[in-house]
């Protein structure tokens, strides 16, 4: 029952700022379902990999939930801590670039001056057959 609620809350919670209110009734529920993990892994192309990683994520959510203890009634939300600062404008001059060699050093695999990535945004394979993705 709570798994479904969490799933929905998670999905809408990821959707944007307006969803914050729906998250309120999440309080205290630290557990994450396998489906949520799978969805996140697909979105982020990240492999949580282990039970510890999931536990760490659950702890992080529980930690963030403490924000809700703060009473923000009647407080106008800020855009940013810099919202009353001037946004600096740069002149349209070319001053950077030409450093492909340096940048490509960060890439595990390179073809000519290209970075090499896995093909497209391929779906992660179902849990349990992940080797094929990681080593291809």
């Amino acid at each position: 029952m709570s798994a479904r609620a969490l799933w929905l809350a998670f999905r809408s919670g990821l959707g944007g700022r307006q969803a914050f209110s729906t998250k309120v009734n999440l309080q205290g529920s630290g557990r994450i379902t396998v489906e949520v993990i799978e969805h996140l892994e697909r979105l982020a192309l990240v492999d949580f990999g282990s039970r510890e990683a999931v536990a760490r994520l659950e702890k992080a959510i529980a930690f963030a939930d403490r924000l809700r203890e703060v009473d923000t009634d009647g407080v106008e939300p800020m855009e940013s801590v810099l919202e009353d600062r001037c946004l600096y404008l740069r002149s349209d001059n070319v001053a950077e670039g030409n450093c492909a060699e340096e940048l490509l050093q960060n890439s595990r695999q390179v073809v000519e001056e290209y970075f090499v990535a896995p093909p497209g945004n391929i779906s992660l394979p179902k849990l349990g057959e992940q080797e094929s993705f990681q080593h291809s």
Binding site: G16, L82, Y88, R90, G97, Y114, V116, P119, N121
Partner: protein, 556 residues
Amino acid sequence: MAAPMLRRVGLGRLWGFAWVDGGSGHRRGSPNGSTSSRRREQSSVAQQPLHTAQKPRKGGHKWAAVVGLEIHAQISSNSKLFSGSQVSFMAPPNSLVSFFDASLPGTLPVLNRRCVEAAVMTGLALNCHINKKSLFDRKHYFYSDLPAGYQITQQRLPIAANGSLTYGVFMGNKQSRMATKTVRIRQIQLEQDSGKSLHDDLRSQTLIDLNRAGVGLLEVVLEPDLCCGEEAAAVIKELQLILQALGTSQANMAEGQLRVDANISVHHPGEPLGVRTEVKNLNSIRFLAKAIDHEIQRQINELESGGEILNETRSFDCKLGCTVPMRDKEGKQDYRFMPEPNLPPLVLYDSASLPAGTESQQVINIDQIRDALPELPSATRERLVRRYGMLPEHSFTLLNEVGLLQFFQNVMKETRAEPKKVTSWVLNTLLGYLKHHNLAVSESPVTSSALAELLDLLDSKAISSAAAKQVFEELWKGEAKSAAQVVSEKQLELMQDREALEQLCQSTMEGHPQVVTDMKSGNPRAINKLIGLVRKATLNRADPAEIKDILERLSS
């Protein structure tokens, strides 16, 4: 050995694939989460059962199509939106990439003033309200050519909103009547472009070039006010001309500087809107019109045969001439919009609100930009119509071909011929030859001066218009001869010798007594036949009016 091979393959494919993952962050689903777009999405989803429940009713009701466009225009600037690396179309891979563009830790965005000005100019030219305060947001999605994992865009409060674009569209099949229509513009937002991916299926890998990553884009979102491919094509053409007139984008579709996505649905008039699909991969104006019309027809066929329309993304296959579903791996994309923490709000000023004592480089004055706007295509056309008595549709054609207006104006400067004659020669003869030989105006073997000289000869009645056509054909061969040289070499001058002409007329009449009898009995076609015969005898060198005059005198 293999390396240079791959480079060529890679570049060749770059063209093909620029479109597949062309847009930044609009690969899947709606690229902007603006409230109205959300509303549209909801309503289309809510209406889904309506259509699926409907029985097919062939010919029962008419269908109406609703088309909305989202356009990404690359801003023409020296450097990128938030970094100082160069913007250039063809450059060695990853040579135009700064540490920020590659999303190295610790780098921060620094906004390019030129990009802001380009957005304001475009907003003003499209009759938008310019927001004096606009905000930047992060839109998250994971793709290997977006190294940060998010794109900086303007989701909540864009730089410009609520505008309109007036365009002309031909009525009916005959290209003779123009109708003026208006499409509303929902918003214009500044955002970053993504890098490019080259998919190497053979080795199952993707090559990433970040040269385009971080280039400034104007995303122009139109309200769904259009109803067919032709209207959409006319809107995009007009937008392209406006962007080029402003210089805010080169708007060359083939080079990916202007990319269009279309949202399409069909419904019965008076009933709620249907479920919409999004068509991507539209890389020319012609394909845009074709793809939209095809998708409208596909949806109608689908619904009439009892099927349903899925809210999906389709791409146009220009070889097959139809739209095909794009593999949507994740279903609904979740962009997790959040305010961009590294950029304070963008504040613009007008002359009234200009702060005193601020560095002028740091202040953008909307009024100043408005005053400096160049002449827009609609004004240019009006000027042509007013000044030269040209038909509106002719003014459209002059502007729609790159360089044709300049050519026309150059001819006008150098010739004494009437504007109407010049218009006709430029639009019919010159453009006809160019189209036939598949050439751009800049490649025309006939220069504007040569045409001006030719038209002067015609205007002073030194040659007949049939001879002028012959001269043009000679000039087209590009042998660097002037019109006058061609005329004298080919002996195309009008016969000035009245006596010789009279003799030719006399002998023609004697050779064709039956036609002369017909003419005398009042058959109006007979004299034309005689005129034709005499002209042939003069090798098109005589003025038909003069021949007619002589013939009438001789036969009376």
